[in-house]
Amino acid sequence: MLDKVTKQKLVVIGNGMAGIRTVEALLERAPDLYDITVFGSEPYGNYNRILLSPVLAGEKTVDDIMLNTVDWYEDNNITLRKGETITMIDRRTCEVVTEAGARVPYDRLLIATGSNPIMLPLPGKDLPGVIGFRDIYDVDRMIKASTDYRNAVVIGGGLLGLEAANGLMKRGMSVTVVHLLDTLMERQLDPVAGGLLRKSLEERGMVFKMPAQTQAILGEDRVTGVRFADGTELPADLVVMAVGIRPNFELAKKAGLYCERGIVVSDTMQTYDGRIYAVGECVQHRRQTYGLVAPLFDQAKVCANHLAMKGFATYDGSVTSTKLKVTGIDLFSAGDFAPGPDKEEIVLQDANRGVYKRIILKDKKIVGAVLYGDTIDGPWYFQHLRDGTDVSHMRERLVFGAANLGEGGVSGQSSVAAMSDETEICGCNGVCKGAIVKAITDKKLFTLDDVRAHTKASSSCGSCTGLVEQVLAFTLGGDYSAAPKVKPLCKCTDHSHDDVRRVIVEQNLKTIPAVMRFMEWKTLNGCHSCRPALNYYLLATWPGEYVDDQQSRFINERVHANIQKDGTYSVVPRMWGGVTTPSELRAIADVAEKFNIPTVKVTGGQRIDLLGVKKEDLPAVWADLNDAGMVSGHAYAKGLRTVKTCVGSEWCRFGTQDSTGLGIKIEKFMWGSWTPAKVKLGVSGCPRNCAEATCKDVGVVCVDSGYEIHFAGAAGLHIKGTEFLTKVETEDECLEVIVALTQLYREEGWYLERMYKWCDRVGLEQIRKRVVDNVENRKALFARFAYSQQFAQSDPWSERARSGVDRNEFAPLAELEIA
């Protein structure tokens, strides 16, 4: 072993991701070879720059993203000179010179100075409030601005710009993204995927101005606005420039090293001066520069190899893939996807699921892929792309991914099973499936953090976390229960619907503020999406105990009528099973005349709708309808709406059972119940199905030998036939199954999730098992529904028309006679 005195001196300029990864790799290969000194302008240890976006978005803290703390440098006998910038490389004396004038000699030098954000040369670019997005300092300034100011403009609709915009938005700023072109992330996305991305970001509140060219930044002492080439202006208290990066090679160039768009290096990562190496964003290799960590880490490995004097590795360039780190948006892009005469494309677009996939083939090989909404197969395509696999034999089914090619089942887990050991799981760190599996088995790893620590997989950008969890699950089998990837309930929280429902029960939470406090809601009173959801969850969890929060109800449910476009309401009395009487019809006619109700219409649910009722008339209208024995039809409710029936055996020559009677029985049992979304039923007296039962949430088709129960149909925005659940022999069994099914849906459905979507998510078999096969469970579900009905079955109309409930709701606060 070499002793300290004779050790060679390695100096590293740039305490960033590529430089330190090289040092780490070097220590693995040759721990004692060098006396290492690292200079870094930033006053920190080495941190994960990629995760600045989640820090900005408030999802992580600066401490969370530290990769190498100051202790790590000490433990490895590395001299860290943080906060010190190198201003000159003296190649003659082999020394570097710091800003303060100190000279430090080197035997080998590694330049890893990264890059700088491009600041467009616009008038006003130096005003306070105009910043780039590159380091902790920038993020601090953005966070500060978000507390002091309101309007932010982000120039640049690429990866970095969108992540900055997302973060600022999460911090409460109004953000406009300005982009020169008309497709977002045009280097990674085609126009369709770019459009989908734009749409979902717009849904979250992001505003886009594109195509638009910025002409000037306005303001005197601080930025106040931005002007565009078309003459329009936007107010801005903060302008983030995210139009690209420029390799930081000034220092190298001044020292006489050959530079073009970056410091030019050979396949061994050496500059034109053999003693000086360079890695990272500051280099240009085979005419390419890179702005993602995966290729930089490849470079780091090669460079470390040479520094360790095991000079056999060479760097041949990298193919990169990209994911956007905006929570809740799944996006994957790799390779070359520009259309061309010699290319073929396979496109799958499923607007309902928000899924778009485009695979580009050339000479029977995948050359590019853009995935939106469902990115589980990203690594699989990427693997074939890099391997240059001939995919012609699976061309037809290629777009459906690994699972559909017999390379696995349908779930993500089996598609992991289908991957070869060489499939890369973590793109940033180049970790393939085999390495993860080996680490898990050899080192007895059980958690994601273990895997991160041992393999580095999932430790950089985090996009592959889901896949790594699946590899864990697949390797450990039943021992591992990873939380599946979940979408947050709404923008006010990171928690999913399921989390919220579970925590309400576990923590015994009984009010909306209590839930928000316990689950650390990000907004003061939530919003129009989460409040009604929480109100429903509490109501469904604590029947008889929870006091319905009227202010968290959508207006229709608050006033028990449907708001119309002119602010008037529509009133639909219940007609059990669609059956009415002359006296009911007379009463409806009288009411319509008495209150000048402009439109009387028959609905699709076999009842009568009175449209155009003024809000202040509602209680009186209800009183008259109540007098004739009619109650609310809950036509406005996320609850039981209608039970549509046909005339069945009582009149119809084909009728096999009393479908009308059964429908009325079901409706009388279930009316008044609240559900995650509306529930519509149908009962047909024979398979001719005149009540259209097989496109309802729950439908019964009577047959000679009994009753077929179907569910999970839809005939609205989406059209879907029902699934067959089971067949029973008696009316009572039929009621029991339907009620139990509805109760299960009430307990598990996400707010606004229709029954068919719930069934899609949970699985038909799962539901059948609990509602049909497990009789005990069915009876328990039935009992819980019945219990909660005693609190629900009170006519909201008569409460308001007669008992003065919510009187204030229907009268103005004051009438002013001002001129």
Binding site: T176, H528, Q551, R558, G567, A814, E815, L816, I818, A819
Partner: protein, 109 residues
């Protein structure tokens, strides 16, 4: 602009709710936040005239019941990405009584 007019008791407006004041020039929605601040806006959404008084109130914003525009109670401004502005009127609470001063809309030229 009128002087301050007494329009009712704070307790007659539900927390995180709203009541309507009728005027010859149209309805004004008076909102009460969780912390008992009051705000008054024309009861017309800048989008398609929806009655804002019927929306869900959260923090100092209301969501229009018709198509979910979110309006800032203090400024009447629609929250991005939506655009538009609803006319506001000064309102205040003193000793549990709500006061309103009606500001005539300035015709847009």
């Amino acid at each position: 602009m009128t002087g301050w007019i007494e329009i009712g008791a704070l307790d007659d407006i539900p927390r995180l709710g709203s009541r309507v004041v009728r005027t010859p020039h149209g309805n004004i929605a008076v909102f009460r936040t969780e912390s008992d601040e009051v705000f008054a806006l024309d009861d017309r959404c800048p989008h398609k005239g929806g009655p804002l008084s019927q929306g869900i109130v959260h923090n100092k914003r209301v969501t229009c019941p018709l198509h979910n525009f979110v309006i800032e109670l203090a400024s009447g401004q629609a929250v991005a990405p939506d655009e538009g502005c609803t006319h506001t009127h000064p309102a205040k609470v003193e000793n549990g009584v709500v006061w309103l001063s009606v500001r005539q809309a300035v015709p847009v030229s």
